[in-house]
């Protein structure tokens, strides 16, 4: 369960968000500039709220009143960025293994095999990120985040930098992820069609405010 109740001033822009989500995929929906990325950066711990609370499964990650701020590396929250952000100096295999090494997790060949197969990236393992297509990069980024064994996975418009054809290529993997990976996700997008296919619960964000909460039908209502 994810509980967010935060306020953040970003220049002229005020972001106020309060919601509780138990869905498998929480869709954070809104136009660009609505504050979606700032909000998940706060969940990831990359941005500190001015005021408020962020808690996951009863564990407090941020509580400004109690002066609690768990740094990103201790949150165990995976993050797939719009621009993949693979490490250019490491090959795909090392990128995938990175989270396991940093978290001192024991080697789990079964998980590695399962995830590389699920994402069809087994044939890319020896390549450097510079030699991958946009879609391949995004799949590797998904695998890298999953293999760090997060308790929550944040996806910030993972299809945003891809063209129409590539989107159609990645979407089935995301649906598979939702149904097989057993990790709750927060999925950020401004694409209603994408949301309908993936999200189980919607948080509608407009101008830094949550304007609607609920099932995918709020997309049509909003």
């Amino acid at each position: 369960m994810l509980r967010v109740d935060v306020t953040k001033q970003l220049g002229e822009f005020t972001l106020t968000a309060s919601f509780v989500s138990e869905g498998r995929v929480t869709g954070l929906f809104g136009a660009s500039g609505a504050g979606k990325t700032s909000l998940i950066n706060m969940i990831a711990g990359l941005l500190r709220p001015d005021r408020g609370v962020i808690a996951i499964d009863g564990e407090t990650l941020d509580d400004t009143a109690a002066k609690i701020h768990v740094p990103p590396h201790r949150r165990r929250i995976g993050y797939v960025f719009q621009d993949a952000r693979l490490f250019p100096h490491l090959d795909v295999r090392q990128n995938l293994d990175y989270g396991r090494r940093m978290n001192h997790l024991t080697d789990d060949p079964a998980a590695r095999t399962r995830i590389t197969e699920m994402l069809d990236i087994g044939h890319l393992l020896d390549r450097r990120p510079g030699k991958l297509s946009g879609g391949e990069r995004q799949r590797v980024a998904l695998g890298r985040a999953l293999l760090s064994k997060p308790r929550l996975l944040l996806l910030d418009e993972p299809l945003g930098s891809l063209d129409e054809g590539r989107r159609a290529e990645i979407l089935p993997y995301l649906i598979r992820l939702r149904d097989e990976a057993n990790v709750p996700m927060v999925y950020v997008s401004h694409d209603a069609a994408e949301m309908r296919q993936l999200a189980t619960q919607i948080v509608l964000l407009r101008g830094g405010q949550v304007t609607a909460l609920g099932g995918v039908k709020v997309l049509t209502a909003g």
């Binding site: 990831a44 711990g45 990359l46 740094p71 990103p72 590396h73 201790r74 949150r75 165990r76 929250i77 995976g78 993050y79 960025f81 621009d83 952000r85 693979l86 490490f87 250019p88 100096h89 990175y98 989270g99 940093m102 978290n103 450097r128 990120p129 510079g130 030699k131 890298r144 985040a145 760090s148």
Partner: protein
């Protein structure tokens, strides 16, 4: 080209002085370059200016300041000699100190530039994957900045090899102890019939300096490749 034992001594001493100066200066250079590239703090411009000072001060002034502070009776030099037994004055270690100070701005600049060029979004990604700040630095920042660090080391080394003014002021020109290639050339051109020997050392200097420039250029190219992930 036959080199005399004295010339060999000067060359080897120069290499040793420059190598020690560069190796000791590099960790400090990385730390300061990181501070300048990534942090905002009170006195940042003053620190930046202090690092660059040896580049614009007359070398003889830097050498004299070193003599005043690190000499036997200097504040720092006296303390180090009495308590740790480390003596800089008129020793090769003093030559290394002078070379390190003089080459420091050249060492720091490429390191700072390469640290600034490291994409901080990659560092964020690293943190979300569970890397503590020092791990982010060791596994992402440092490897991506490595070509720049090596370039800085090469430039610093080349500058240290050729340093003359501050060294001769601080530790004099003692054959076998503080006489580097530059001060050997200086002595030779003041000696009758020293021209040929001086020219031999000039050729050696040109070879070392050119290799350093080529090396630095090569590292810079590697840096671009690395950042583009090929």
């Amino acid at each position: 080209m036959e080199l005399s034992p004295a010339e060999w001594t000067a060359i080897l001493l120069s290499l040793r002085v420059a190598a020690v100066a560069t190796l000791v200066a590099t960790p400090l250079g990385i730390a300061l370059a990181w501070l300048l590239a990534r942090r905002d703090f009170w006195g940042k411009s003053a620190l930046d200016a202090a690092i660059h000072l040896p580049l614009v001060l007359p070398p003889v002034v830097t050498g004299y300041l070193l003599l005043l502070s690190f000499g036997r009776h200097g504040l720092v030099g006296g303390f180090l000699a009495d308590h740790l037994g480390i003596v800089f004055a008129f020793r090769w270690t003093g030559a290394a100190l002078a070379c390190g100070v003089m080459s420091f701005p050249l060492l720091v600049r490429p390191i700072r530039l390469s640290l600034e060029a490291v994409d901080q979004r990659l560092e964020q990604a690293s943190a979300t994957l569970g890397a503590a700040p020092w791990q982010v630095f060791a596994t992402v920042t440092l490897p991506l900045a490595l070509p720049g660090i090596l370039a800085g080391m090469v430039l610093g080394f080349a500058k240290a090899i050729g340093e003359f003014g501050a060294t001769i002021t601080f530790v004099s020109n003692i054959p076998g102890e503080t006489q580097t290639i530059s001060s050997a050339i200086y002595s030779l051109i003041q000696t009758p019939d020293g021209d040929t020997a001086a020219l031999r050392l000039v050729v050696i200097s040109i070879i070392i300096a050119t290799s350093a420039l080529i090396g630095s250029e090569w590292f810079a190219r590697r840096a671009t490749q690395r950042l583009h992930g090929n």
